[in-house]
Point group: C2
Chain length 165, copies 2
Amino acid sequence: MSLDGYIARPDDDISWLEAVEKEGEDYGYSKFTAKVDTVILGRRTYEKVLSMGIGFPHANKECYIITRKPQAPIGKLKFYTGDLKVLIKDLKAQEGGTIFCDGGAQVASMLLHDRLVDEFIISVIPILLGDGIRLFKAGLPEQQLQLLNATNYDTGLVQLHYKRK
Amino acid sequence: MSLDGYIARPDDDISWLEAVEKEGEDYGYSKFTAKVDTVILGRRTYEKVLSMGIGFPHANKECYIITRKPQAPIGKLKFYTGDLKVLIKDLKAQEGGTIFCDGGAQVASMLLHDRLVDEFIISVIPILLGDGIRLFKAGLPEQQLQLLNATNYDTGLVQLHYKRK
């Protein structure tokens, strides 16, 4: 997110992330996703990813797109129209690796609302956007966190890693 | 601020800051204020400080309380009803040390609106408040930042220090 808490400009634009793009630096992303076996994405974020023309990055993992519109699965990618809370509880009850919520704002809000996020990895980008789509919307429940790690990168990105207390 | 960007609960409560209170640890505050010769405070923050019964901490510095209600000065403490932009420009034109904007949300918004803040020291508290008074309100101009420093404390507080590019 930007220092002022936005994950995109009001029109969904994320080109400001280019400020921290650096050849060979993925900010721990591939190391993290290697532990992940299930990915949850909002429909809007899914379409954003597709529109970027880089292919779908989670094709080899169990993937759930949270949407209101039922759709046939594409390989391991399922479109989920049910209760997100039920999905998470079912997934957590199964054996397996990390469940990765890769955005966006709406899915994050639903998960935060029900205190279903166990760990937070937040990359703070050195910019004040001024306005946009907030990662943490207003009206969520209070949650105490424990800092696990904070890492500074020479691009000015600071990555904060917390777990829920 | 909390990880979700709040400096107080909706009712101005800041008791959640107790989570990072630690005997002998002031998070660089006294070292920083030693360089400060002028303090700017919003009226609401000023009254909050007074209500805490700890005395006014900036009595030995030039201090401006930004308010709409004219009032006689108390020692070096002045009540300023004019244009904040003019005040800052006048102060910056003078010889002297650092100008410290010690809150609150309204004064910060005015300064950010006019890009008058040169440096930001943001302490991120390990909590999601869920709702409250935002440090960075919506509708401010975009500003590129440069990370100068990020410091982790064992209480879980992470202090981010940026300058405006």
